[in-house]
Amino acid sequence: MENIVLSIGVAAFAGALAAVAGAAEDTESNIGSQGDPNSQVQLAPQMGYMHRIFNKAVAGEPPSWALWIALGAGVAWAFMAMNVNPVLAIILGSVLASFVQGVYATTAYLGRTASLAKFGQPVYVDILKSVTPVTTAHAFVAIFATVTICYLMNAVLGHPFPLPILGIIWGIALGAAGSAVGNPYYGKERQYQNQKFGAGVPISASGNIVRYAEAGERSSLDNGWFTAKYAGPASGICFGLIVFFELWRHLIFEHYFGGWGSVIVGGIIVLLITIMARFIEVWARKTYGPYTAPEKKPDEEAA
């Protein structure tokens, strides 16, 4: 009975940590300008809109977060193998992974901006100095919280996967949650406000991002200031719920098949979701069919 109570407590604690991680991850990616809204930031100089926004084009959020978390977990694992206290090991792993994130952020900004020389976009060194530490600080919070979740799953709940493998899986999940939930706020609600309804898609409006603030020029820190209130908590709730429900699956089925029961049930759930998605797709195709141009009435044509 005590064991069950402990497990439920760990699940709740991990869910809370995941909420923090999700909020920090999304704020990090918005301050650094990563993910799909960054494509318009990248396009802006080409269309004649010079700007002072960061350009952290490392990869999509899921692959880059898979690296930061797997690296944090791997280094923590190595320190624990050297008999370092787990809390200290996780902190050291997270610090080193945050360092790698910071270096990748600077090389991405310098590389992308230097390659835009043809359009006259200059490198603003003060952006590197002021924005990089802020994005790295948020990255540290997210990495530390997520590596701690992985450690709790591995050490307390007895998950059969080793720490770095859990890191790669939860890193992809964290990046995907932040990217899917948080990016609309950063894109539509912030960067594309020059367009009606925040639409950044029309080609004629390509690169027309918001470059000036209420007073002065907008920097990526202003974007983080805005998204930290809306996009961050939304991403945090998303990732927190994912981790929380995910751990319930583990708690209920872990005792079957020598600890692998929860993995097998996970596979079955993925299969069920795939079948559901297929049914929805087939239903949508049958109901709405291929795109047809709207029929024009004769009087409209005359006009």
Binding site: Y104, A114, A117, V123
Partner: protein, 281 residues
């Protein structure tokens, strides 16, 4: 068939980088075999150097592949390379001293199959796809093998899966304390997978230059090598791990400073705390 658009004219042709990269990384990975011959583990850092050489070659391959209009596919190319490469690398380690060569051959075959499927079955119709994916798989396998050799001092399956944990002072064999069993392969996978796609992805644009892109590849390689050197403290002796860490930090510091200088050279302007420069309409 897609139209080829050159990102920039290259001073060093791709084939030169291919040959130098292939031979250089294989030789460096084999130099770690001096560990087995001498019974020491000071030669482990050669694995990291081999991985960096493979990554520089890989950057050139990705640039060549992506000149056929694969914009957002740049990071995916890195993932494909290492996905195919890690299988080849793990199977290859079963062949003892022949491991690097075996991994190379298996990676070339599996990469060519992936390339054929993507090119002809999925109808992507990119002329260099089969060769590029074969190259990328080899690069993935050699990079992971290089980082593995750097962390553990060895590249054979037996060593990579055998570990010991100490319980009350007694050494007890435990697979979960080994390189593969502990999941450090996942770290090597991601360190290489992001490092191979980042240089071209980050230097993407009309003013791309080859020397800056390749310098960034070396920088990413050394940065990954620093992290593998820190992990190697868990597997090899303190002195050897420190040597690897020192070489990695010096290499990273040099390439990072060089990359900043090259960015300064290529940038339209280098401003500190200045206003937005509006262009004339």
């Amino acid at each position: 068939m897609t139209v080829k658009v050159e990102a920039s004219a290259d001073a060093i042709p791709h084939n030169t980088l291919l040959i130098v990269g292939l031979i250089g990384s294989i030789v460096c990975i084999y130099l770690t075999y001096l560990n087995t011959i001498t019974g020491l583990d000071v030669f482990s850092f050669f694995g990291g150097i081999g991985a960096i050489i493979a990554l520089i070659w890989g950057t050139s391959t990705i640039k060549r592949l992506c000149s056929y209009g694969i914009g957002t596919g740049v990071p995916s190319a890195g993932m494909v390379a290492f996905g195919a490469g890690i299988i080849a690398m793990l199977v290859g380690t079963k062949f003892g001293i022949m491991s690097p060569v075996a991994a190379l051959i298996i990676a070339a075959v599996s990469g060519a199959i992936f390339g054929y499927l993507a090119d002809s079955v999925l109808n992507m119709k990119i002329p260099v796809l089969v060769q590029s994916l074969a190259e990328l798989s080899i690069i993935g396998a050699l990079t992971i093998m290089g980082f593995t050799a750097m962390a553990t001092g060895d590249f054979t399956f037996g060593v990579l899966t055998a570990g010991t944990i100490s319980i009350f002072g007694f050494a007890v064999p435990a697979a979960q304390a080994s390189f593969v069993g502990g999941g450090i392969t996942a770290v090597a996978f991601m360190l290489g997978g992001i490092a191979i796609q980042h240089p071209f992805n980050a230097a993407l644009g009309p003013s791309n230059t080859q020397d800056r892109t390749l310098m960034l590849a070396a920088e990413c390689g050394f940065l990954s090598m620093i992290m593998m050197a820190i992990i190697s403290f868990a597997f090899i002796s303190m002195g050897s791990a420190l040597l690897g860490l020192l070489i990695a930090i010096i290499g990273w510091g040099y390439t990072y400073a060089q990359f900043i200088d090259l960015s300064k050279r290529d940038a339209a302007d280098w401003l500190d705390a200045k206003m937005i420069v509006e262009t004339e309409d």
